[in-house]
């Protein structure tokens, strides 16, 4: 009986085995690249806001402390977005007729709140608490990036669980002295071993129970 397939079909078969594997690898690679890319994570993508609020101006330029506006950051899990009243503490005097600030004045006059677009949005099954991080020496810029250089606000980190765990597994790499938590210009020591040594000292000083930091219920419940 004549062969059903020509001899060259073997090549096709081999190629498709190898090719199939390659395609699978390619799909996984591409998927994981997309997964980590700003397309999905929205890292480094500035969001449009009702008022083009600039941290660069307020923090970098005017040197306003984070807690002036985000008042609940030390007391609560939530670091609040300031009420219109906070804006008006200055802007009832400064830039009172700026067109850019029109929505703020409008809100103050009408009592209708501003609607900001969320930049840092954790999934609803993650329970992050600002107060404990701030109390234990995690600086604002550690997660929020160089906020003093952002003319509009964007997300600086992916907020992937792997990123959270970098610190929860080894907090010594990220902790800073207590008085530097709100210091946006603080830089860790350049020398790696020096940095780690200082970090380990802080872990001890802050009484951080590192073992506990990877309990699932620390963040998920």
């Amino acid at each position: 009986m004549a062969q059903v397939f020509h001899r060259s079909a073997n090549v096709l078969a081999r190629a498709s085995i190898v090719g199939g594997g390659l395609v699978a690898i390619a799909i996984v690679t591409i998927a994981s690249v997309i997964y980590r890319s700003p397309v999905l994570t929205q890292v480094n993508i500035a969001k449009a806001q009702p008022v083009p609020f600039s941290h660069q101006r307020h923090v970098g330029g005017n040197g306003i402390d984070c807690r002036y506006c985000h008042t609940s950051v030390e007391k609560s899990g939530v670091a609040n977005v300031p009420p219109t009243e906070t804006c008006m503490t200055c802007h009832s005097q400064i830039l009172t007729d700026s067109e850019m600030l029109q929505p703020v004045h409008e809100s103050w006059k009408t009592g209708k709140p501003l609607e900001w677009t969320r930049v840092y949005d954790l999934p609803d099954f993650v329970y992050f608490d600002h107060s404990i991080h701030v109390a234990k020496g995690v600086g604002c810029t550690t997660c929020h990036g160089e906020i003093q250089k952002m003319p509009l606000t964007w997300k600086a980190k992916t907020l992937h669980m792997a990123w959270c765990l970098e610190c929860h597994r080894a907090p010594q790499k990220f902790l800073r002295p207590k008085d530097k938590v709100f210091d946006v210009d603080w830089k860790p020591a350049a020398d790696k071993s020096e940095r780690l040594e200082a970090g380990l000292k802080l872990v001890e000083e802050y009484n951080v129970n590192v073992e506990q930091l990877t309990n699932c219920s620390i963040c998920h419940r």
Binding site: S76, N80, T84, S131, A135, Q212, R221
Partner: protein, 1045 residues
């Protein structure tokens, strides 16, 4: 059927397994288990509990592959989606003291049968989310009952009436004001004759003040009261005994001998939360003088406990807590009261010897002996269902026993706004209506068309009134017949006031503005008075407050707002004297034929909570029935009428009949049937409509609690599915030893007080012992963590089975309801269930019962953890068995492997089923707990959100002062179930702190682990139950005692 026939049936029936054959299992949960018809072995053959997936799925292999392939692909795609954009909407001007993300707490009160119970309401960013008890309030002492816990759901209920309506059309408040003004104007010309206000029982001083004003302005107006379940017999009993209506206050902390005459004081009435607490304190005997307890028991020695005698016509939780229980026909309770009265020395009381002969003589002897030997420490409590004469007799006995003298019983003026004969009030109302003497009828709350006795045609009477107004939280049968329907504000959204059972003036403080265009009773009364239509509920409450306290009112108001009640407003005792005349017994007690007993439903009350899904789905204490009512009868009575579980019968009384399903109730008095009121609503929302049958229609005005003549019962050929949870989540009770002999695992461990004193560690000797710690291939100390380590104890001796823990947990943890059909499949979601066990032959007159709340045990060697393929449940370094919902893929292996059956699976997206998809319900959710979707396993984690909050707060506080000690003071961190428990049966805390309550409780010799013999090392342990039988009646108990060993 003649008695001979009955005997034949009893002999012919398949001999029930007697206790001797089932020596291995002491306690049982349901009839099939007692009979050995269903064993856990049967269940073990199926991989999953309750329903078999193989029978559900008819797809076949190919379809299964197709569906699963598509599902996995789609599920994979969803994880690639970008998160939806969200908005942050800050305040314009933030309210004072508000910190975004933190709870705020307000002292307030909720109504408990019209009386105040102090609560602390939790608000999250302006939305009420939880209710807890108010520690300082006399009716709460920090605990609540299930209805108070569930009232948060009432606020957001999609079944609420949302707008004012007139003749079924939307209307405005101004239209209402004009119409009422016109009607009142017409009435006013004749001194107010024709104006009638109908209320339920209320203690509100504001309503009282406005009614007084109204009566002054319209001298001829009528105030009628109707409460289908109220304590009218207690009022009339006091009137009979003392010549005036008083309220009775009992200090159970002094009570060593208690006789309940059909009184369910642990579970019903305006003081039941307080009474349950005090009673639990008197039961907390410890063999060891140093055994730590944290309750003051000044009237008891450390190893002394109260003794409770209960005579009842229908099984209640108070009866379940009794040391000696007697099930009686309704009329025999009076006979018992009479014989006890005459024997303790009450003058001029006679008892019919024929009736007394039907009672257990030895029981009465022992009781009388106990009562007379504990003068000043003995008390008799009469139930609201019993006729006034029983209450009068109880007052007389308490007087003779020195209970009044010792302060055990105190009489005070009734805290009710108008304590009156409500039975008479209803009759006069109906007469007035039928004689067309009422021109304007204002109905403040309630649902008289539905809940008036069947002997009254309320609808026809109501239709004779030219103008009818109904203030109601939800549209119901009465609203349907009223011209004006005004939504009533919930206690969390309007100002108000109430008095507690002891008279304490409590303030109801709103946490949120009314969600709908609702009004309060006070506003309606103010409207009828012709006051400015913009008068607010706040104005009215303040005005009354100023009227009561005069010059001091401003300071008192401020204090009352922060405290929740006005200090020092407890009513002073009044001195009353017993008039010394009890009329001779009249009615004969029929001993043949079926007797019907009417009782308030254990969860939905008189029907007012019928729209509350949580209460509907809460397994009713003792029966474990959900979503329905039934005809509850003793198994022998059922046999007499040839009835089986779930058979439908037609009950006929006079012209009225209902179709009722039969449900067996063990220990129910024979020849007597209990019907729970509150079901069978026709005009209602999704949750309440067409559930069960309306037993009110059988009720008779002159004898509302019992019908003992002319009841006919006809069996039909149909059956009706009852969603009962008693057969769900069974724990394996016996252990196959190597000798192939089944041995009892002693899930419930109980003993008598005297036995406990002789052998304090009896509970720990029962059952098999846990394997040695070292008996493992792994590191035995692996789960011994330094620092915080959480544990729990549940004291079965304190637990009375009220099930408030289940509802508190449901409110705290965003637990959905699943609906009747799903409950019937064993899919109820409660994280903490209360297992009810019986002991003794199911055909006995009374059965001993025990209640065991079962949350997750947080096993140190948790069987659920290693079987999860995705790490969805992991052990935390604080000893918690964490659930990670976002990891769970729904294999259900964990639930299958859990020996305690405490894991719950979301077969559907329950959060939006069963009418629960209303957007307002989202406002109710606890923001700190994930709302689970379908396909996810869930369970108790000791309220880990509360633990995290407390831990973070402690650490932040420590960091602030530079301290390295992060202490969570013992007792400041409580779980939801623990906080709600009136009996303080649940303790929770750090077991690494040797001085914490929970550590001390775990050192108690009564402490034992459930199924500890399989080596799970549960962190939740139980304390054995004790009973205190009279030595004179010890014979029967000695038998039971032997059976235990």
């Amino acid at each position: 059927m003649s008695p001979n026939d009955l005997d034949n049936i009893l002999t012919d029936r398949e001999a029930p397994a007697s206790m001797s054959e089932h020596q291995d299992v002491n306690y049982w949960r349901h009839a099939n288990e007692f009979n050995g018809a269903v064993t856990i072995d049967d269940e073990k053959h199926r991989e999953f509990d309750a329903d078999d997936p193989e029978n559900l799925d008819h797809a076949g292999r190919r379809n299964f592959m197709k569906v699963m392939g598509a599902s996995m692909m789609l599920a994979g795609l969803t994880s690639c989606a970008r998160q939806p954009e969200e908005k942050i909407v800050p305040y314009v001007k933030p309210p004072e003291h508000s910190v975004p993300g933190r709870f705020q707490y307000y002292a307030s009160a909720v109504s408990l049968s019209g009386y105040a119970m102090g609560v602390v309401a939790t608000s999250y960013e302006g939305r009420p989310t939880k209710i807890e008890g108010l520690k300082e309030h006399p009716a709460s002492l920090g605990s609540t009952d299930a209805t108070a816990q569930a009232s948060i759901l009432d606020l957001y209920s999609p079944d609420r009436q949302e707008s004012i309506s007139h003749a079924g059309n939307l209307a405005t408040w101004n239209q209402l004001v004009a119409d009422i003004a016109r009607a009142v104007g017409e009435i006013d010309t004749v001194d107010g004759a024709g104006l009638t206000v109908l209320t339920e029982t209320t203690t509100s001083p504001t309503v009282q003040g406005l009614m007084a004003q109204l009566q002054q302005q319209f001298p001829e107006m009528k105030w009628r009261e109707h409460d289908p379940m109220g304590n009218n017999n207690a009022r009339m009993g006091a009137l009979q005994a003392f010549g005036r209506i008083t309220a009775t206050k009992i200090d159970f902390l002094k009570a060593k001998i208690i006789l309940s005459l059909d009184a369910n004081f642990l579970n019903e009435g305006p003081a039941h939360v307080r009474y349950a607490r005090d009673f639990a304190v008197t039961r907390s005997a410890e063999a060891n003088a140093d055994a730590p307890d944290y309750v003051a028991r000044e009237h008891f020695a450390h190893d002394e406990m109260s003794r409770l005698y209960v005579a009842e016509c229908s099984p209640t939780l108070t009866g379940a807590a009794a040391d000696h229980l007697m099930g009686l026909r309704y009329g025999h309770v009076e006979a018992l009261a009479r014989v006890v009265a005459s024997r303790v020395g009450v003058a001029n009381v006679t008892a019919d010897p024929e009736k007394v002969a039907a009672l257990d003589g030895a029981w009465i002897d022992a009781l009388v002996d106990d009562l007379t030997h504990h003068k000043g420490h003995a008390v008799v409590v009469a139930g609201e269902a019993q006729p006034p004469v029983v209450h009068a007799l109880a007052h007389a006995i308490n007087g003779i026993l020195g209970a009044v003298e010792s302060g055990l019983v105190t009489y005070i003026d009734s805290p009710e706004a108008d304590a009156t004969d409500q039975q008479g009030s209803l009759r006069r109302l109906v007469d007035d209506l039928n004689n067309e003497q009422v021109k304007l009828l204002v109905i403040l709350g309630g649902n008289p068309v539905y809940n008036a006795p069947g002997s009254i045609d309320m609808a026809a009477a109501l239709n004779k009134v030219p103008l009818r107004l109904h203030l109601t939280p939800e549209y119901n049968e009465t609203s349907e017949l009223c011209h004006w329907v005004v939504p009533e504000s919930h206690a969390l959204e309007a100002w108000g006031d109430l008095r507690a059972y002891d008279g304490t003036h409590s303030i109801i403080q709103p946490l949120i503005r009314p969600l709908y265009s609702s009004r309060t009773a006070s506003q309606i009364l103010s409207l009828v008075l012709g006051e400015d239509a913009t008068t607010t509920d706040y104005d009215l409450v303040r005005r009354r407050f100023s009227g009561l306290y005069g010059a001091e009112s401003e300071a008192k108001w401020k204090k009352a707002l922060s405290q929740g009640f006005v200090e020092g407003t407890t009513f002073a005792p009044v001195s009353v004297s017993y008039r010394g005349s009890i009329p001779a017994e009249t009615a004969a007690v029929p001993t043949e034929g079926l007797e019907l007993i009417f009782r308030m439903d254990p969860t939905i009350g008189d029907g007012r909570h019928a729209s509350n899904g949580w209460l509907q789905e809460l397994p009713k204490p003792l029966t474990n029935l959900t979503w329905d009512n039934a005809l509850h009868i003793h198994p022998t009575t059922a046999m007499k009428y040839e009835l089986e579980q779930e058979d439908v019968v037609i009950l006929k009384v006079g012209e009225h009949e209902v179709r009722a399903p039969v449900m067996l109730m063990f220990g129910h008095p024979q020849g007597v049937a209990t019907l729970h009121l509150g079901y069978g609503r026709q005009v209602a929302g999704y949750i309440a409509k067409d559930r069960g049958f309306n037993a009110y229609t059988l009720r008779d005005e002159s004898s509302p609690w019992c019908i003992n003549e002319g009841v006919t019962l006809k069996k039909t050929s149909s059956t009706y599915l009852l969603a009962r949870t008693e057969e769900h989540n069974n724990i394996e009770k016996s252990l196959q030893t190597q000798a192939q002999k089944a041995e009892d695992r002693h899930l419930i461990r109980s003993g008598t007080l005297s036995h406990y004193k002789e052998e304090p560690d009896f509970a720990q000797r029962l059952g098999h012992h846990a394997p040695e710690r070292e008996n493992t291939l792994y590191n035995p100390d692996e789960k011994d963590y330094a620092g915080l380590s959480w544990g729990m104890t549940i004291d079965l001796n304190r637990c009375n089975g009220c099930s408030v823990c289940t509802i508190a947990c449901q409110a705290e943890n965003n637990i959905p309801i699943v609906g009747k059909a799903e409950v019937a499949k064993g899919r109820e979601m409660h994280w903490i269930r209360v297992d009810r066990y019986y002991k003794g032959d199911m055909y006995n007159d009374t059965v001993e019962s025990a209640h065991q709340p079962v949350p997750c045990m947080q096993c140190e060697n948790a069987p659920c953890e290693p079987v999860c393929p995705v790490g969805g449940t992991m052990h935390s370094k604080e000893g918690l068995n964490d659930m990670i919902y976002n990891r769970c893929v729904g294999t259900r292996y964990c639930a299958n492997n859990c020996p305690y059956k405490v894991r719950r699976f979301n077969f559907f997206h329950y959060q939006i089923r069963e009418g629960q998809d209303a957007p307002q319900l989202k406002m109710m959710r606890n923001p700190n707990v994930t709302v689970r979707s379908r396909g996810v396993m869930e369970k108790c984690t000791y309220c880990v959100q509360r633990i995290n909050r407390a831990r973070i707060d402690a650490k932040v506080a420590a960091a602030k002062i530079g301290s390295d000690v992060t202490a969570i003071p013992d007792g400041t961190l409580v779980t939801a179930c623990q906080a709600a428990c009136p009996s303080q049966a649940i303790d929770f805390g750090n077991i690494n702190d040797a001085s914490s309550r929970v550590s001390l409780r775990k050192q108690n010799t009564r402490d034992y682990g459930l199924l500890a013999d399989i080596g799970t090392r549960p962190r939740t342990t139980y304390l054995a139950k004790l009973s205190n039988p009279s030595p004179a009646l010890a014979g029967a108990d000695a038998e039971a005692h032997t059976a235990e060993h």
